[in-house]
Symmetry: C2
């Protein structure tokens, strides 16, 4: 079908922000062609489609490129309206969904990065651990007794939080950190189990061993550079 | 009218992100009560309504709080639909509007901050100046020959960019920097003239002298701390 190539999706398999887009496309049943990028040698197409940030993911729909994973999720939801709704319908619920997703990107992710990437800088690492735990606690509190962040049905925030569900456990294990545990964050743990059991999520996650190998090599190279 | 108090708006007059919300509310003709915050002594209401970030602006609609200026703009647009449209109608145009607004917050603002706030750190300041000029050049290119960022009518990106239109000229003058000039960025200069001539914008801007006094005091205290 010509339709197949109407949607091109540029990404790397091991990236949590790319995974968000994959889940959304699968959820909506959108046909697409995936282009695996080599971030050390970015393709001309990627540089053409995302000249400002030169990053993945990029979605190209009818030759029109969209960058930034959360903005791509909104675009997918607005374009393929008849499928599973990603954002809630009410303006206030939509605002909350955007708020928590932005919180994950602006607060949680930089803290985890600081905790895990600050190899050889104990002070910075300690600060990162503290900030990560604070941010995880805020998410834990926000879950309350809901099954998913938006309530009974999963959606925008859960997809944004795939990083917490799948990447954080791998990163902390490889980096030898104690950020997340089922004891400290029982609601998040329950949410992780629920969320990663959804077929569309399970099938969109990268192989765990590949992630472990990637982060092991990354942290070894950071340690070697010190 | 009881309606008047249905919308509470917490902010500080001199803040560009607060000004975004003010423009949007005025544009939609929403009645609201403004609460001027003292950021050195935040009100209990602000801490109650924005416990995560403890920042302005916060919009409270029927006792439900929304934080983050761009998310508030989206909420206002979705809630008071019959007024002037802030975001464009088409998903792709909406994605672009969100992209450029995010660019202003994530790239331009931190660069300007680095250039202006790095008092006594020449290397950091130089880097900030370089990054600011790069970001401004990207916005200049994006304007092309359009009157506003979205085309003939002003909207989301223009409101997000009020910081460029009104704050950047004041900050660079007070900090003694040469970031923006009509010669370097003629399209942005033309856009600034168009945008700040709009009655709804003109009436929402804080008094220039007050901003100048604020930034003068700020940079003096930064210099004194060195």
């Amino acid at each position: 079908m010509a339709e197949d190539h109407a949607v091109k999706f540029f990404g790397v398999t091991g990236s949590p922000v790319v995974c968000r887009v994959k889940i959304a496309l699968e959820l909506k049943g959108v046909e697409y062609k995936f282009f695996e990028e080599d971030l050390k040698n970015k393709s001309e197409l990627l540089l053409k489609y995302n000249p400002v940030h030169k990053k993945v993911p990029v979605l190209v729909h009818n030759e029109k490129p969209i960058a930034e994973s959360l903005l791509i999720l909104e675009y997918i939801d607005e374009t393929w309206k008849s499928g599973y709704p990603i954002l809630p319908a009410e303006p206030y619920d939509r605002a909350l969904a955007r708020f928590w997703s932005k919180f994950i990107d602006d607060k949680l992710w930089p803290s985890i990065r600081k905790a895990a990437w600050s190899v050889g800088d104990e002070k910075e690492r300690e600060k990162g651990i503290e900030e990560s735990c604070e941010a995880l606690q805020i998410l834990e509190n926000e879950l309350k007794d809901k099954k998913f962040f938006g309530g009974d049905k999963f959606g925008f925030v859960d997809i944004a939080a795939v990083f917490v569900a799948f990447w954080v456990p791998v990163i902390q294990q490889v980096a030898g950190l104690n950020l997340f545990s089922a004891e400290k964050f029982p609601k998040l743990e329950k949410w992780i189990q629920e969320f990663t059991s959804l077929p569309v999520v399970k099938e969109s996650l990268p192989p765990k061993q590949r992630l472990e190998a990637f982060f092991t090599a990354l942290f070894q190279s950071l340690a070697a550079a010190k």
